[in-house]
């Protein structure tokens, strides 16, 4: 694809930002409508998660590592954002076949909607967790905390890129969702969420570092828990993973997108 056509595509996509807004609102409204607590669930859901893990790690499954809950939550919330976005993306084209078959619009809006919706949920969860982290669980209130915003921004682009790949796959292979249901738990354990990377035996270290999530989670932890800027090496890796994934994700999506209407 040439530079001019990429620029034109991005401009076209930008001109549909109103659609993105109303699709995300639809997502929020449809999920909460008819439920007793309505929009309150977006707050209660992460709150319950935090409370449950607090009880488990503080009173049942006691772990020697100091501030383990903080260590765990930073990784776990990021993971939830990734896993939920990607799962939702796997069915987003087929689910919206009434739009895909009837209207002409930049279809990448559909996976973007899912990622933005889960990003909003993640940010709410993180906003609830952050004061608790700083007050009780080893979070450091320093200017370096701002690095988290950079890491989250990069991670959102990375998640979107994977979402674009998975949503393309979901059109042509209807069991993409089932494959994810099997693969994601494996990926969860290949990401250092419950453990520290240096606890992994030397032989398995390459597997851990071949997983992009390891770098993102590590960089976020450095900023929140160590009160330091992530290392230049980590930031470089974040940049590489994000750029490579984004280029590949958009390329694959745009190449297959002309066939979505007839395949979904």
């Amino acid at each position: 694809m040439t530079d001019t056509s990429t620029a034109a595509r991005v401009r076209w996509l930008y001109s549909y930002r109103t659609l993105l807004k109303y699709l995300v609102l639809k997502e929020i409204k449809v999920k909460s409508r008819g439920t007793y607590l309505g929009i309150g669930w977006t707050l209660l859901n992460p709150l319950f998660t935090i409370v449950v893990y607090f009880v488990v790690f503080r009173h049942i499954f006691r772990i020697g590592m100091p501030d383990f809950l903080g260590f765990f939550l930073v990784g776990f919330l990021l993971w939830n954002f990734f896993a939920r976005s990607v799962t939702a993306a796997s069915t987003c084209i087929v689910e919206n076949d009434s739009l895909v078959k009837r209207a002409v619009f930049p279809m990448e809006i559909l996976p973007i909607t899912k990622v933005v919706y889960h990003l909003v949920n993640y940010l709410i969860a993180f906003a609830i967790a952050l004061p608790l982290l700083v007050a009780f669980w080893g979070g450091k209130l320093t200017w370096h905390l701002l690095w988290v915003a950079v890491i989250i921004a990069a991670f959102t682009v990375f998640t979107l890129a994977i979402g674009l790949l998975i949503s393309t796959s979901g059109v042509f292979l209807r069991d993409t969702r089932d494959i994810l249901d099997v693969m994601l738990p494996t990926l969860f354990w290949v990401t250092p969420i419950f453990y520290q990377p240096d606890m992994v035996p030397r032989a398995l270290q390459p597997v851990l570092w071949a997983n992009p999530l390891t770098t993102f989670v590590g960089a976020a932890r450095t900023a929140v828990l160590a009160g330091r800027a992530p290392s230049a090496g980590d930031l470089g890796l974040v940049l590489v993973w994000t750029t490579v994934a984004a280029a590949f994700g958009f390329l694959v999506f745009l190449r297959h997108q002309p066939r979505f209407a007839e395949e979904s």
């Binding site: 001109s15 549909y16 109103t18 659609l19 807004k21 109303y22 699709l23 609102l25 639809k26 409204k29 449809v30 409508r33 008819g34 919206n96 009434s98 739009l99 895909v100 078959k101 009837r102 209207a103 002409v104 619009f105 042509f172 292979l173 209807r174 069991d175 993409t176 494959i179 002309p258 066939r259 209407a261 007839e262």
Partner: protein, 257 residues
């Protein structure tokens, strides 16, 4: 102006369709599970031109390829071969409602539908009252669309799409579900807009009187091919003869007196 040159569209019909990875893998070891592909020509060498400001009708039996043709014209399907050229801005209304979501209210769906057509929030706000008035939805506008009758959905969908000001407007059958009063109102509006803005329409319809009366030109499609193109009245005549001939063939002789 719409120019459609030798457009063909094939779909691959698959028996044992392999949309699951498991099936693809299994079929490597077990040849009897391999999918059978059969090409289906939904459109074959379709050519016609619609002049600027013209109302062009598409008629033909179910499955003739009318909807596929409109989707190819709209750019939703890629033609297998041939070319489509449309000059100016194009909009399409292909089916009930513009991807309306049943759980959302009529008003919320107006915002969603208008955004899908590329409008900004401010532009939608300026137009929403006019849309609600034209659709004659009344206080139901705050109710979820799932409680609407199909006629109400059509009215709302059509009222939304009337706000687009395209140079070329593609419409698929949608008016059929509206009642007589609303249909007349729509046709009147379409006529006004066509005269005022020189807008071009391509309308797929089963309403032969409409095509006869309102469409300067029309095309009769059967089995993906064009049987006749020309003045609306003559093309409808050809279609009526065709239907009569088919009926005569399919009525068994012992049923005749």
């Amino acid at each position: 102006m719409v120019e459609c040159t030798e457009v063909s569209k094939t779909f691959v019909l698959r028996t044992n369709r392999h949309s699951l990875l498991k099936e693809r893998v299994l079929s490597v070891v077990r040849p009897e599970l391999r999918e059978e592909r059969e090409e289906f020509w939904a459109l074959r060498d379709v050519s016609f031109t619609v002049e600027r400001g013209e109302m062009f009708g598409l008629i033909g039996p179910n499955g003739a390829g009318k909807s596929t043709l409109l989707r190819v014209l709209a750019g939703i399907y890629q033609p297998t071969s041939g070319q489509v050229r449309i000059s100016g801005r194009m909009a399409a209304l292909l089916g009930l409602g513009l991807g309306f979501h049943p759980e959302l209210s009529g008003r919320e769906n107006i915002y969603l539908g208008m955004a899908l057509l590329g409008f900004s929030t401010r532009e939608i706000r300026q137009r929403e009252d006019r849309i609600i008035e034209f659709a004659e939805i009344g206080h139901f506008i705050e109710h979820p669309v799932k409680n609407y009758s199909s006629g109400m959905q059509v009215r709302l969908g059509f009222a939304v799409s009337l706000e687009v000001t395209p140079d070329v407007f593609l419409i698929d059958e949608v008016l059929a579900a509206g009642d007589e009063h609303f249909r007349r109102k729509c046709y009147k509006r379409l006529k006004q807009e066509r005269k005022r803005a020189g807008r071009t329409y391509v309308i797929a319809s089963h309403n032969l009187q409409f095509v006869e009366k309102r469409c300067a030109r029309a095309a009769f499609l059967a089995n993906g091919r064009i049987v006749a193109v020309g003045p609306g009245r003559e093309v409808v005549e050809r279609y009526r003869e065709h239907v009569a001939a088919e009926d005569a063939q399919s009525i068994p002789s012992h049923a005749l007196p």
